[in-house]
Symmetry: C2
Subunit: 332 residues, 2 copies
Amino acid sequence: MVKISDVAREAGVSVATVSRALNGLATVNPEYAQRVHIAAEKLGYRGNAIARGLRRRKTDMLALIISDVANPFYTAIARGVEDVAENSGYSVILCNADEDAAKESRYLRAVEIGQVAGVILSPHSGTTDVSRLRAADVPLVVVDRPLAEPVDSVMVQSVDGARAATRHLLDEGWRRPACVTGPADAATALDRLHGYRLALADSGLGIAERFVHGQFSQADGAAGASALIDGAEPPDSFFAANTQLALGVIAELRARGLRIGQDVGLIMFDDAPWAPFIDPPISVVAQPAYEIGVHAARLLLSRVTGAEAGPARDLVLSTELVVRGSSRRVPT
Amino acid sequence: MVKISDVAREAGVSVATVSRALNGLATVNPEYAQRVHIAAEKLGYRGNAIARGLRRRKTDMLALIISDVANPFYTAIARGVEDVAENSGYSVILCNADEDAAKESRYLRAVEIGQVAGVILSPHSGTTDVSRLRAADVPLVVVDRPLAEPVDSVMVQSVDGARAATRHLLDEGWRRPACVTGPADAATALDRLHGYRLALADSGLGIAERFVHGQFSQADGAAGASALIDGAEPPDSFFAANTQLALGVIAELRARGLRIGQDVGLIMFDDAPWAPFIDPPISVVAQPAYEIGVHAARLLLSRVTGAEAGPARDLVLSTELVVRGSSRRVPT
DNA sequence: GTGAAAGCGCTAACAA
DNA sequence: TTGTTAGCGCTTTCAC
């Protein structure tokens, strides 16, 4: 490893001057700066981020802790974050909490002692403990799911989106829509269920609620759909709270020989690359995932640099109803 | 921030003893160790990974640089890596190179100066420059795509898998299979094309090759299929070299009203969660993505800890042909 | 504008 | 076994 003192010797100046020159501090003789840069180049000097971080007491890394790398929604957020961070000279490290509270807290801890400049977190639940992070004064932005305490956040209008989706089902003529949602301790699951209920109430049709909770997984989507279908008054349509649940619902419907878009309607929260290719194409409530990442990163960076002080800010982005074939009610 | 000296004072011992006790070095009086742990607990001591890294000249972080976070194949690898790393007390930071050589080299650089214990890389191309990494003596394991130089690697039998897929198409009775593959500078694209060609030659049927290169993207999959169909002797079946390409092929086939599994056959390399839900379900050559991650992490860790010295090792995992509906040739 | 020197928090020699 | 001390490579006062 070539270090700063090597460059200093090569350039015939002090290490302090090398440091200043390399960091672009204006207070250095242009000629010396030139010499330093040439020497650094010649020696292939890379610097040592660890040492720099130790001294500066912070790094130029942002941590993004997401709930599930396998979910394209989160990876889209990641790309938004990365693009913004990169433009500002920060790198972002991705941590996969895997919907696991223990893993999440381990990463939170690692990140805390790892001295990152800031963290963006999609919390496992509203009770995720970020107190140490806040005590350590590490800027934090929460995405997708809110936290109990006041903290910068970038959310999506889950309730409105779910409401619009359900209303759309009703508008198409379906009369017994059901909601297959996530765990009762996940805000997103609750919000989407809430929107569904609101739409039912809005309609004034006196339609009974049909819903089921489960993990955000394909298996639980299938199980939920199965339970609903086997119930007293089986649903004629489904609103799935995310793509994994929807995949399960689709599987169950297929297994029972129910034709989507004819015998039964379906719409899901969150878009997916494969959604248009299912037969029929799946209607969705699309979320601006990439933009969530962009906004979160901008907000975080403004806190990191101190450009923004003040109280916690909450950004709420809206969703978009994308009607494809699955929610249509085709008279047979 | 509470530091080691604070703990030392609280416990009434020296910083060295605190360090030893906390790191579980056996050479410390149990009573002192006890006091240290209590003091650390009381003060909420977290340690400073930066300082530790600086002094030890290495960290307990592994870097995983993948080509595309949005591709479930890579995220599955990531989970394998994480699980192994975690069990050995390492954390893994994920970097998304996004199929972009510039981004890749930036991460490689960041990782190099960031002093990670080791890196797992799915290289953008065979010419990715890892010389500095090797010069810096950072253990490296390459996955999915090979590098020109000798380096530990974990690969999949792409050629065999592609060959089996194509042979299956032939066995089903398709007589004009085409291959839609990735860029000509990607080894995986080439290997899969090669396997396709081999199967054609194996058959002894004198079938003409039909293939097209493109980016590993949905758009290029559609364009490729379109070009092939508009060619002189249009294919009666397709082998897509990855899931994104396959999605494009499916879109194009749909757009032209061609019924998969009847008018035309389809099989793709790599499985996907949505594959069984397309109508008809898509046949695939499944890759053991998670296992790739597991093996890569184990190999890397054995290098990191010095348990394994010797020359570069190359692991090659086999694929599995999963026949669903799309490759079947149903007499109409 | 420049350099000497003092640490950042930690671990590892080295003594005791 | 324990404590003292010397750095890891860098940035940043503080004199000059």
